[in-house]
């Protein structure tokens, strides 16, 4: 049996379709209800409660903690203020992305790093000779994401933290009920939202406190399907789908640099870090690929389906396969995630495009399979994110 997360006792009875999937060796609900619609709308219009405990979490402490993290991450960790949270990738020596995650500065010399894949060995290897300790508290720390417009009110009600003053990508230590928690204003939905980190032993009580306190605000346990649509709208990368971690990729072509993933903004080339040399070179040369959004042209889509006497069939659940993208007859890229955006009312996709075809506004075509036949639908290259509400930051 796969493990349940620390919330499993609560989430299991809620999962009406017994629709589970694997996430880092844990069971994770794809959706709790029989369709995920309501769960998605909770993210955008109320508050969704998402169990994100399967994330890997490492606590890094020591007088060399900043030096160490600066060596590993592409971002400038020295510039990370106390109680700030930073998002960024880390790379191998060839400048290819191994993983991405958030870094919370818990104290002068202590941080929590989250990642999608296990990274303990890589971290330890890079910590050699430095005064740091790295503690893997993935199993002992439970994590919940509370995402959506009413999430602030809920947390204000159930915790002693002053969420009104907690800025985007900052954290606060607080108590919910009397459970000590860390609240970070972060998330994977591109909406106003928070992530709550607590001792796994307190997980069930924490769940209950949030559910009780959130009832009047439309709190809704939400699964991966809903989250996936939201993160595509927010233009956020999914490891293993939108890119393959460099240490898992079997061939070079499967590896990506931060520039190729649209993370150039997170690379501080002037500081020393693993992969710096390679990235400096790439930056001078210009990256071969870009990671962009595609908006499919409705008329074109309608036409493609009309050939078969059908209206467009839209992916309500985000797909995660690789789909070719063309400019004329030539393949110029591939889309790795896509879905119908219920909020934007658009069919959107995340795509890797050769730099020459990645300019905003470029017209391309994306393959769509209609009635067992491969067709091309027109699409336009757009900047990410697709959806970026004011409330996310304010």
């Amino acid at each position: 049996m796969l493990r349940g997360t620390p919330f499993h006792e609560r989430t299991a009875p809620l999962c009406q379709a017994q629709n589970w999937r694997r996430w880092a060796g844990y069971l994770a609900a794809s959706s709790y209800e029989l369709t995920h619609d309501r769960e998605y709308y909770a993210i955008r219009s109320a508050a969704a409660l998402i169990d994100v405990s399967p994330l890997y979490k490492y606590v890094i402490r020591g007088s060399d903690a900043v030096r160490f993290l600066n060596r590993v991450l592409t971002r400038d960790v020295a510039g990370c203020d106390m109680h700030q949270v930073m998002y960024g990738p880390w790379c191998n020596e060839a400048g290819k992305v191994i993983d991405d995650g958030t870094l919370q500065r818990l104290g002068e010399e202590s941080f929590r790093l989250t990642s999608a894949e296990p990274n303990l060995r890589w971290l330890c290897d890079n910590a050699f000779g430095l005064r740091v300790t790295i503690e893997d508290d993935s199993d002992t720390t439970a994590a919940l994401a509370l995402q959506g417009p009413t999430s602030r009110e809920i947390l204000n009600n159930v915790s002693d933290a002053d969420l009104d003053s907690l800025k985007y990508f900052r954290l606060a230590f607080a108590r919910a009920g009397n459970i000590p928690v860390t609240i970070t204003r972060t998330g994977y939905t591109g909406d106003l939202g928070y992530e709550i980190w607590a001792d796994a032993q307190q997980a069930i009580r924490l769940w209950d406190i949030l559910m009780d306190g959130g009832r009047s605000y439309g709190i809704t346990p939400s699964g991966i399907y809903a989250l996936d649509v939201a993160r595509v709208e927010a233009g956020l990368l999914l490891i293993g789908v939108d890119y393959i971690p460099a240490n898992r990729a079997l061939i070079e072509a499967r590896k990506s640099s931060p520039f190729e993933l649209g993370l150039g903004w997170a690379v501080r080339l002037e500081k020393g870090f693993v992969g710096q040399e390679a990235l400096l070179e790439e930056w001078q040369r210009g990256p071969a690929w870009q990671f962009k959004g595609l908006e499919l042209d409705w008329n074109s889509l309608e036409k493609v389906y009309a050939e078969f006497g059908l209206p467009p069939e839209l992916p309500m659940i985000a797909w995660r396969t690789s789909v070719p993208v063309y400019a004329g007859a030539a393949q110029v890229g591939y889309a790795t995630s896509g879905c119908w955006s219920p909020t934007l009312k658009k069919y959107i996709a995340l795509a890797h495009l050769r730099s020459a075809h990645a300019e905003r506004g470029t017209s391309v075509e994306m393959e769509v399979t209609v009635e067992h036949r491969r067709k091309k639908a027109a699409a336009r290259v757009v900047d990410l994110p697709f959806f970026d509400p004011e409330r996310k930051r304010s």
Binding site: L2, R3, R22, A24, G25, P118, N119, L120, R121, W122, C124, D136, N247, R248, L250
Partner: protein
């Protein structure tokens, strides 16, 4: 009647390689006769019903890396080959804990994590590197190894191509390959892991069939073999044959027969006949002579050249090299008929862990001490064991509710102090059962019958010189263009029209059929 007939080829020994050669030759239209000394074909790959109702894979017990091209070319599934998965490996530990590697990645990760969080990750990194290396090595296993001393342009070209191939590898892979060739399994694994039962169990695959300990340099290379199986993963090249290992031989024999191969059992070849420095046939021990255009020996090089060929047909240097060829046997086999399943203290009851391999290899020190005994001419008092319970995978192997257990044991030197005799065989059997009973206390009472095969028995009963299961040790100086001896690694021999096709030739070892196939292809080239 057979004496009247003239064959294109006569194969000495109906082991799986001999059968593969026979089948490929017959497939090319040759008239082929296989001569097998025993009453059944298969050589070391046989299933024998030693106690009524209990079928034992008497010697070889898993199908390791049977070449997919052979499965395809000979259409073995149509001839009855069914390979069943062996998906887990359990290592019980003396402290009552255990380590299991499951078929499922997440489960294995969690299990390794329990022992060492870093090892859980290193295991994936290691697997990826080994996958690359196995992929790189594959190219040499599928070809006749080029002779670096030859000035023949074909050899040179082939050598250059290989050189380019290896020097073209990414640095990390090239250096790892260099290390694999020169390091001990233990040292190599020490660079990656800290969990003792993990390292010990992985290292075991580096010493199986060798007279080396896990700390002996040169043993790291064999670690690759496990991963070679994974590349051909869809073929399930690593597994258990339904009906026991004999079923593999049976299916090859059936394919061979369909191509027209004639198989004679209970026909013991005493001598290779030669005229004008050419092999012309064989003489059986009852005096019968069988003539054929070529003679192919599937038995080991020592048996072939030192027992079957008149030395006057062979150059002195060659004979010297064959005499020097190292073929020390180091393993034994214990087959048990069981009234009930073993109940392991660390994981009690019946569970999926009994459907995979069970490895008695709790630590590197345990492995090394087991080897130390053998170094000085004793069998290990507490041996390394690789165990499977075939009846858990294929219920047809034992009567309902009963079981057979196959125990591969190392080390048991052929040159035992005082020599092997019945008393020593019993003592050896006891050492095995006593050690295993420390982990599964009900074992002793569950035994209905015990069948012990010592290296001596392997030589006498199965014709393996010194009981070496690979027809010659897989050490670096006996591999590639030096297997079995330099200049004669292309399946040819100094005696024209005499060929070799057994495990003593490149690439050697295990039920792969690779030697047999390459031999046949080369024989046909000369035709």
């Amino acid at each position: 009647m057979a004496a009247e007939k003239r064959y294109d080829a006569v194969i000495i020994g109906g082991g799986h390689n001999g059968l593969v050669t026979a089948a490929y030759l017959a497939r090319a239209g040759k008239r082929v006769l296989v001569l097998e000394r025993r009453h059944l074909v298969g050589g070391s790959a046989v299933t024998e019903e030693i106690v009524p109702g209990f079928k034992f894979s008497a010697l070889s017990y898993v199908v390791s890396l049977l070449r997919p091209e052979i499965i395809r070319d000979l259409e073995l599934p149509r001839h009855g080959l069914e390979l069943l998965p062996l998906e887990s490996t359990m290592t019980p530990m003396p402290n009552g804990d255990y380590l299991v590697r499951w078929a499922d990645h997440d489960l294995t990760r969690r299990e390794l994590y329990r022992h060492s969080p870093r090892d859980a990750e290193a295991y994936d990194d290691f697997g990826k590197l080994m996958f690359h290396l196995a992929f790189a090595m594959k190219s040499i296993l599928g070809i006749v190894p080029p002779n670096p001393t030859s000035l023949n342009p074909k050899d040179l070209l082939s050598l250059l191509k290989l050189g380019k191939h290896y020097l073209g590898l990414p640095a990390e892979q090239f250096y790892a390959l260099c290390k694999l060739m020169t390091m001990s399994a233990a040292d190599f694994l020490d660079e990656w892991f800290e969990t003792e039962p993990l390292k010990a169990t992985m290292s075991a695959s580096g010493v199986i069939g060798t007279f080396l300990g896990v700390r002996s340099p040169g043993t790291a290379y064999v670690l690759l073999h496990h991963y070679m199986g994974e590349i051909d993963g869809v073929f399930r090249a690593w597994g258990f044959a339904r009906g026991g290992t004999g079923a593999v031989s049976e299916s090859i024999a059936a394919a061979a027969r369909e191509f027209g191969v004639e198989v004679r059992t209970e026909a013991t070849v005493a001598q290779v006949l030669a005229k004008n420095n050419r092999a012309v046939g064989v003489a059986l021990d009852d005096g019968e002579e069988i003539h054929a255009r070529v003679v192919v020996s599937g038995v080991d090089p020592k048996l072939t050249f030192l027992k079957m060929v008149d030395p006057q047909h062979l150059p002195t240097d060659f004979l010297h090299a064959i005499r020097r060829f190292k073929i020390r046997g180091s393993s034994g086999k214990v087959n048990l008929a069981l009234g009930e399943l073993p109940n392991f203290t660390c994981l009690p009851g019946v569970g999926p862990h009994l459907r995979g391999a069970i490895s008695i290899s709790p630590s590197l020190e345990y492995m090394e001490r087991a080897y130390d005994d053998a170094k000085y001419g004793n069998f290990s008092r507490r041996p390394y064991m690789d165990i499977i319970i075939p009846s858990m995978i294929d219920p047809g192997m034992a009567p309902p509710g009963k079981h057979v257990m196959s125990i591969f044991v190392q080390w048991a030197p052929f040159e035992l102090n005082g020599g092997w005799n019945d008393e020593q065989r019993e003592a050896f059997g006891n050492a095995v059962v006593d050690t295993l009973a420390e982990f599964a206390p009900n074992l002793k009472n569950a035994i209905i019958h015990r069948h012990v095969v010592t290296p001596w028995d392997m030589q006498e009963e199965y014709g393996l010189t010194q009981g070496n299961i690979f027809h010659g040790e897989l050490s670096l100086h006996q591999l590639f263009f030096m297997r079995p001896v330099h200049r004669w690694a292309d399946y040819r021999t100094p005696l024209k029209h005499l060929y070799q096709c057994g495990s003593g030739t490149h690439p050697g070892g295990g039920i792969t059929g690779a030697s047999g196939r390459l031999a046949a292809l080369n024989i046909l080239k000369d035709w």
